[in-house]
Symmetry: C2
Subunit: 345 residues, 2 copies
DNA sequence: AATCGCTTGAGGTGCGTTACTCATTTCTGG
DNA sequence: CCAGAAATGAGTAACGCACCTCAAGCGATT
């Protein structure tokens, strides 16, 4: 079962190798009828160009840049680590990944970083940044300069980014809402929300999804107004203590953003962990432990490894002009209970 | 930023190309000290062989066989379809996938199919089959003949298969148990189980996981004895009708295996769908609809597309002697509520 | 000193493309 | 029918590596 090569296509179509090459690579100077003959031969023989040979001859390389927020955020650190790890195994496939830490809350710096990128330095960019209008504009300009851009974790739907790698945060919020609604008894009870900031699109989406489900399907639950803790453990800790003091009958808690560690500490100090249904996001050593000991009841997560690998695959496909395997690139909303925690890597 | 090639390694180490080649490919006839010199140069220069060039020169090809149960099982059909789809996009990377439908309940035929396979016909095999001892033996012999084997969906832990691609069914069962326990009110209630057959390892595992969690953490729930429906819609339909008649106060239902369609029909005919907490496995058009209209309350699933792609990646890596990216190949237990159903492809 | 075995160097070929160049043939309009 | 343009053929270098052969260098053994 020899491979079908351009030679076979050429002889089948009764033309020379040069002509086959012209057709296959869209070079000019071939009559319509000849093009058709060659394409017919390609179909008949089921010819597929050999990726190894093509890659070698094309001298292709994929220089990718990842812009990832710095700061003491376990999830972002996981993203960076996974990107580094995966890049190491992909070096031999000519994929080089440069990780650029950015200050996500400084839109000006982010756009500056995007502005200096260029086709001569990189072929694709994956960026995780809050959706400020100026960032959107910078993404558009970068695309215009011929660099492929995908958004990661947090989308910029209005931009011309070619793809979004991340979860549907509205759906994630709905899941949180339903879990709260079904985990709690069918009787009036109070639920508290803590977010990093409702100015962040993903936090706002989650909040909207959650309240939508609860309002529609669990109207007996009373929703306290959202407190914003800037994803900071210290702030969240204080917020939680105050909440627990103000509402001794608090039944549920949904942390929309990061900073679970502060909340966990507060619940455990006050021994309110077991009685309260507490749902949060992202799997970290702290949330894992809290799930195991019962302080947390469910975790809604996205797999940073999956996201990074998906972003790299998508960018590579964009560079090659190859199609994207949709099913492969859909990032699922992971729901963890204490029963299905993955083993530690 | 030119690529580092063997030429660079050779001159750095002060040896010839031939020697570098001998070292890199483990050919004999090189002194220890020379080997060390070359390896030091490889490390210093951070040399990685070019996958494109190597693949081309090696004339590598990956002939993979997938043995997948036939019959009217939506999940198995999804597996086959995904394998075909992914194989199409991988043809140019010299991966060819042959899908062999098997009668999973006829162990003799399965072993026969495995027995005729050989290094001359295929490089790797992915097999989904119930764990009969003779199948295990056939897998071992196939491995001995130099063909890499991975088990898919259903594991044969005692065999010498190189890898298992699938979920932890014990954990899946525990998830079902916890969801039942938390979705139902904290008061005595009856729960029914339906399985295909407890002789199937995955069904037995799920059952064990589920009862373990309920016995330990939700002892107020009464577990009715398991009914076996052979994963057949018709049988399951009858079983459900009988169950509902015998237990007008039935509160929960867990379908451990396939055949959800029959159960859904029974629940909807008798209008018991809404009042009952019903949990099952695998996402199909029927379970999707049931989740949306409230007949089902949660779905525990595994992504067949992910599994197939993982199996192919793993087999390819085994053929290349390359390392496996653990995180990438871990198959998660998907939990679907009506809120996080993926869009239809 | 001749011999043997081990180690190393030098060099070539093929893998299937891409991306050229330069002839040569075929077609078209005037 | 012929100039000029368009289409095609023929061939080549390069990509980086795997795999092979042949010869030369070296030290130790007899």
């Amino acid at each position: 079962m020899r491979r079908v090569t351009i030679h076979d296509v050429a002889s089948k179509a009764g033309v020379s190798l040069a002509t086959v090459d012209r057709v296959l690579n869209g070079r000019p100077g071939v009559r319509k009828v000849t093009i058709d003959r060659v394409q017919a031969a390609v179909r008949d023989l089921n010819y597929e160009p050999d990726a190894f040979a093509a890659g070698l001859a094309k001298r292709r390389s994929y220089r990718l840049h990842f812009l990832i927020p710095n700061g003491p955020n376990a999830f972002m650190e996981d993203l960076s680590r996974e990107a580094r790890d995966f890049a190491a195994t992909l070096m031999r496939e000519r994929v080089s990944v440069h990780i650029e830490p950015i200050d996500a809350f400084d839109a000006h710096r982010v756009t500056g970083t995007l502005a200096i990128l260029d086709k001569s330095v990189c072929d694709g960019v994956a960026v995780v940044a809050p959706s400020f209008p100026e960032v959107r504009a910078a993404i558009d300009r970068l695309q215009d300069r011929g660099v492929h851009v995908v958004t990661l974790v947090s989308d910029h739907p209005a931009s011309s980014r070619r793809h979004f790698v991340g979860i549907d945060n509205m759906a994630a919020g709905r899941v949180a809402g339903r879990l709260l609604g079904r985990f709690l008894p069918k009787e009036p009870a109070k639920i508290a929300f803590i977010a990093g900031s409702l100015g962040l699109r993903d936090h706002a989406d989650r909040y909207a999804g959650c309240t939508q489900v609860i309002d529609n399907e669990f109207p007996h639950l009373e929703l306290l107004k959202v407190r914003e803790g800037r994803d900071d453990n210290g702030k969240n800790h204080d917020i939680a203590l105050k909440l627990l003091a103000e509402h001794p009958d608090l039944a549920g808690l949904y942390n929309i953003g990061a900073g679970n560690r502060g909340l966990i500490a507060a619940l455990e100090e006050t021994r309110r962990g077991a009685g309260l249904t507490f749902i949060g996001h992202e799997l970290t050593p702290y949330t894992r432990a809290a799930l195991q000991n019962g302080t947390m009841d469910a975790l809604i997560a996205q797999d940073p490894g999956h996201e990074v690998r998906s972003a790299i695959r998508v960018l590579k496909a964009l560079c090659d002009g190859a199609p994207i395997v949709e099913g492969q690139e859909r990032i699922g909303i992971d729901i963890f209970l204490k029963d299905n925690l993955p083993d530690l890597a």
